[in-house]
Every structure is written in C-alpha cells, then in structure tokens.
Symmetry: C2
Subunit: 233 residues, 2 copies
Amino acid sequence: MSEINTIFFDLDGTLYAMHLLHKEAMQRVGVFFEETYHISRELLSDCIEEEQQAIENRIGQRAPIHNRLIRFQQVFLKFGLPVFPGAGIMYRLYWDFILDNMRPEEGIASLLQALKSDGYHLIIATNMTAEMQYKKIEKLELGCFFEDLITSEEADKEKPDSGFFEYCLKKRKIKPENAIFIGDSLKNDVIGAQNVGIKGVYYHPGQLSEEPLFPVIRSYTEHEAIAALLRED
Amino acid sequence: MSEINTIFFDLDGTLYAMHLLHKEAMQRVGVFFEETYHISRELLSDCIEEEQQAIENRIGQRAPIHNRLIRFQQVFLKFGLPVFPGAGIMYRLYWDFILDNMRPEEGIASLLQALKSDGYHLIIATNMTAEMQYKKIEKLELGCFFEDLITSEEADKEKPDSGFFEYCLKKRKIKPENAIFIGDSLKNDVIGAQNVGIKGVYYHPGQLSEEPLFPVIRSYTEHEAIAALLRED
C-alpha cells in the first residue's frame, strides 16, 4: 500500500469561492468602461472573449492567456482607445475588487492546520501567473500552511496538460501514488491529475446532479471524511 | 525612399537608467535576507543566478525567466526556508525600490511629445511581463505618449529573437522599412531589429570606446540629430 505524503491544492474556486466574485468584478469593469468610453458592456465583454481566444490561438494554453492586462490592452486597441491609462485602471478595478473581497472557504484554515500537523506536505498547484497567485494566498492568510506555490507560469504548462502535473511531481521529488490533488475543476484538476496517476479529488460544495465518479469533498469541515480519503488506497 | 512612421522604444535602460537602481535594489534585498535568515548575501546572489539559469534551461528564453518572484521562491526552497511570506517580501522590496526611484531619462518626455506631434506612432517593445512594464511606464508618466506596450510575455518571444520583432511588425501592420527601434542593448535591440530589416538605433548616453557601427543617440535632448536619423534612408 502506497502512502500519501503530499497534498496539492488548486487555488481559484478551491481555496476561495471565485465565481460570483469574478462576475461582480467584471460588472464593475463593465460599468467603468460604459461610463468612461460610452461603449456598451456587452460589446466590451464580446471583445474580451475574442481577444482571449486570439491570444490562446497564438501562443497555446499557457499562463499569459490568463493575464487580463494583455487582454484589456488589446480591447483598447481594438476600440481605438488609448491603452494608457485605461487598461491599467480596468486591470486594477478587477483585481482590487477580487483581492478585497475574497474569503477563504469555510473550514479550510483549520483543515490545513490539521493536515500540516499530521506531517503532510501542502502545495498550491494552479494555472495563472505567480505574482497574482502569491498575492491571493497572502490575502487569504493561508501562506503559512503551504510549502510551495507552483503556477503554470513556472511550469510552462497549463492544467489539465500532463506536463503540469509531471512538473509538480518532479519538483517535489515524489511518485504519483504519494500525492492527491484537490480541485474544483473535474477536467483541469481531477482528471488531469488522474491521467498521470495522482489521485484526483473533486472539491464541490454544492449538490451533485449524479453519482460522482471521483472522490468528493463537499466541505472542508468534514475532517474525518477527508482523513479517510487520505488513507484509502 | 521609404518613410518611417513608427518608432519602437525599449524600456529598461532606454527610458530610464536601470543599472544602478537594480544594483541598489538587490543590495537592499541582500541586506534583508542576511539580517532575517543569517545567510550571506553572496550565497543569495549565487543562488539567484543559478535559479535564473535553471528556469531558462527548462523553459527557454521567454518572459517568465524575468519573474523575480519565481526565482526568489526557488531560492527559499533551496535554503529550506518558508516561501511564504519571505519571497513576497523580497519581491516587493526590490520592485518598490525601483518604482519609487526611477526617473525618466533627461529630455525623453519632450522628445516623445515632439515625435507624437509630428505624427509618429510610438510603441514600447520590451522583454518582461506586461504588468510590471505597464506599471513602470505609469510611474515614469510617459504613458500618454505611447500607443501600445508590447512585451515578450505577449509576443511569447524574447528579444533578440526575430520572432519578437516580427510580432511587433505584424501587430502594427507595418513593414520593417517603416520603423526604427531604439534601445540600450546592442544585441537585444539594435542587432535584433536589424536582423529583420528594422533600422536599429543605439541609445548610449556614455562614451563609446570605438567608432559605432550603428546610428547612436547620446542624449534625448538632441532633437535635431534624432530628426535627421528619422529622415535618413
């Protein structure tokens, strides 16, 4: 029986609830854009989506595709607006709102404390750029529990690409059977990890519409159930 | 005769004097590290260099190799120190010092103003990540003169790679003979640009030890000499 000694956590959506925050932040960005440049937020939103797709088509699934500043700059160019200072204002509007309003998921701090006391190595493993992800962990006040932050910027591969997970294993000098990977995305986290032999665990605080195919954590307060997950082979 | 309508400017070392600032900022980082962790700044400096080389060997010459946060994190791991919050503190120590103390090169604002009035398209074209470069341009208060900021993060290629310059031309929909590229690095800026047929101009405020092989700007206050450079075919 192999022993799990390392727990990888995804960040966005896994350590804090991201979805509504993102929606509200984009709403504020949209209002600013509409009021300042008199272009509808619907047009803005379409343009952002197009630009994200364009950069992804050009450079592939890698960390810069998450950089909103690059995307916002492209939007300003497309609408014939000056890139300075508008793109920077929108970028800060978005991130300041997220950082000011993010809260750690219920029970996560005491769970991490308990896992750390039990000797597990805890690592953040996340898509996106290092600086923003580091800031988020600081704001959530969870930094003290984690030994490392591995981003797709550093790995140069994005989840669910196997290269990302292989980089994590190599960096931590461990075998897949010694790790579990907890995340809120079935595709990026759970199946991605499973594809390289790491046990993938689905963090899903809501109702599931069908019987889950993977181990599920519904709440970080269920310490006993989580301990059982770590013991199971 | 082809007409120049677009002027690309490198950023670090070209719009502000970077070298001494970098040295002083690293000195402060070194003192913090030595005082906090009781490891000499010489050991720190060796380790930073090794880690920079390691990430470059792994992912190639691309924007993340410039990200000091990734490098600092690796240093903390290597010395067995907690990545949180030390790596973030050092990262901010470095960049806050640079941002607080950077000053635009003498004459650059009035030169940019004059060039813009003359109808030239002015673009920043720089290695590194978009967020930090955007911040620098804001701090220098030069944003109003520039139409675009192109980083190696966006281009996914680093100067002097021809791919970087080709991306610049494609993005601006111009031919090489319609542009000049001004920068303080002979290799990255001047020769890199020249290799794709863009006229490379060397910004070098100090003494030159030998006859220059490329057009040189010694001071941004020499508007007449710069205007002559733009007229020459």
